[in-house]
């Protein structure tokens, strides 16, 4: 079998050659491979540390939390992207707490789809994604006793304490598992994984990505509530790197 001469060379039509030449510029954004490696937990130490600093995660051997510092904001009203954050709490890795303060503001889009949102923006996301978790997951998951998951906003008195006795979950690892489950067409498993992740204090650091994956899982199940969740996502993260994807998937304007 002899191969024909490529059209880029052999076509009589100038437009064909021009269009094929136009693909020559196809290349990924700088650093995309490094981000992919880090997301898989296979990055070099330097890459992993850099990403860990961005998301407020400090890892040892790329996968372990060293320690946690609990920061509580009680009764603090913050208007963030049109949403009010009544109360939230989150935990940050002690060694990366300085890096976190330098992270982007909610109105600043993530530098890449894999860059984590700021803690404040994540807090907003958690306040709306939690109820969906209960309403949506087809697998019965006992809700945490402290927080009614149907609540749209966390009230100060309802702020869940950290479950220090529970094993902590590396949020990047959890997201990797969710993606794997979605790739394996296991949307219920992905939702269960997301529910588990969202009970973790560290979930705030990946709330934006987790919300997008939840929308994917709902879509995969043909759930109508995916649209509502998508609309909320776009309200909370209008400039998210995922915004176009969410609109495209849901057919939103």
């Amino acid at each position: 079998m002899s191969d024909p001469i490529p059209l880029k060379v052999s076509s009589n039509r100038a437009i064909s050659r021009i269009l094929l030449d136009a693909a020559e510029g196809d290349r990924s954004a700088p650093g995309a491979a490094g981000r992919a490696l880090s997301a898989l937990g296979a990055g070099t130490g330097a890459v992993t540390a850099a990403v860990g600093a961005r998301v407020g995660v400090t890892s040892s051997a790329g996968s372990h939390w060293l320690s946690l510092v609990v920061v509580k904001w009680l009764g603090l009203g913050l208007v963030v992207g049109g949403a009010t954050l009544v109360s939230t709490e989150y935990a940050v890795g002690t060694l990366s707490s300085n890096s976190r303060t330098a992270s982007s503001t909610p109105s600043t889009p993530s530098a890449s789809p894999r860059a984590a949102p700021s803690a404040v923006a994540s807090g907003v996301a958690s306040s709306w994604s939690s109820p969906a978790a209960t309403a949506v997951s087809p697998i019965a998951v006992p809700p945490p006793r402290e927080v009614p998951r149907g609540s749209a906003k966390l009230q100060p008195s309802e702020s869940p304490p950290l479950h220090t006795s529970q094993p902590t979950v590396n949020p990047l690892e959890a997201l990797r598992r969710v993606r794997a489950e979605l790739a394996a067409h296991d949307a219920p498993g992905a939702l269960l994984e997301l529910d588990t992740l969202e009970r973790q204090p560290a979930a705030a650091s990946v709330a934006e990505e987790a919300a997008v994956l939840r929308i994917d899982a709902l879509l995969a199940l043909g759930r109508a509530d995916a649209r509502g969740l998508g609309e909320k996502f776009l309200q909370s993260y209008p400039r998210s790197a995922y915004a176009e994807r969410v609109r495209a998937e849901l057919g939103l304007p």
């Binding site: 079998m1 191969d3 024909p4 490529p6 059209l7 880029k8 076509s11 039509r13 100038a14 437009i15 064909s16 021009i18 269009l19 094929l20 030449d21 136009a22 693909a23 510029g25 196809d26 290349r27 990924s28 954004a29 995309a32 491979a33 981000r35 992919a36 490696l37 997301a39 898989l40 296979a42 990055g43 070099t44 890449s112 789809p113 894999r114 990797r176 993606r179 794997a180 979605l182 790739a183 879509l219 790197a241 176009e244 994807r245 495209a248 998937e249 849901l250 057919g251």
Partner: protein, 181 residues
């Protein structure tokens, strides 16, 4: 170092090596198979996750073929989702299609031509587009394509012929873009 640790270490090395060597190829294949630029990184991540999960089953030296084959499937999934959820053309593509200003050969804006290429490739059924992209844009031989996609050589040849015919016909709709006004 214990045996399992050594195995984990070599697996991680292999993963790193494969990604650094083939990530760009995966990205290009996904993009050229119709995944929009804003979603390509996500799609590439899916490919890498599949690769990482199957790494022990992949023969040494077959990483590239595995990634390309996986990328074609992931791209097809993304395209299906887009088709399901999107009723109207991407405004950007629509702009490229309906722009009243033909461009001279030497003035062809590369970005606009790239969008037109997407439109033309969108005219092809997925199975033809895959062959076309791998042969015409990635420079793979028909034999290599047959191996990667697990197809017979004759099937690859006939699909490439059909894909080329569709491409030339669809591209000709835009031939005025390559002429002086």
């Amino acid at each position: 170092m214990s045996a399992p640790e050594t195995q984990r270490g070599s697996r991680a090395d292999r993963l790193r090596g494969a990604i650094s060597e083939h990530y760009e190829l995966v990205w290009r294949v996904l993009r050229r198979l119709g995944v929009s630029e804003s979603l390509v990184e996500d799609a590439a991540q899916q490919v890498l996750i599949v690769f990482a999960n199957r790494i022990d089953d992949i023969r040494i030296g077959a990483e590239r073929a595995f990634m390309v084959a996986t990328a074609t499937r992931v791209a097809a999934d993304f395209r299906r989702k887009r088709t399901r959820s999107r009723e109207e053309l991407d405004p950007e593509l629509l702009g490229a299609l309906s722009s009243p200003a033909p461009l001279a050969d030497e003035q062809i804006d590369r970005a606009r031509a790239r969008r037109l290429l997407d439109l033309v490739l969108d005219e092809m059924p997925t199975e033809l587009r895959t062959i076309f992209v791998l042969f015409e844009l990635e420079g793979m031989t028909m034999a290599a394509i047959a191996e990667v996609l697990n197809l017979r050589a004759g099937t690859v040849a006939s699909r490439l012929r059909r894909a080329r015919a569709i491409f030339e016909m669809a591209a000709s709709k835009f031939s005025n873009f390559g002429q002086q006004q």
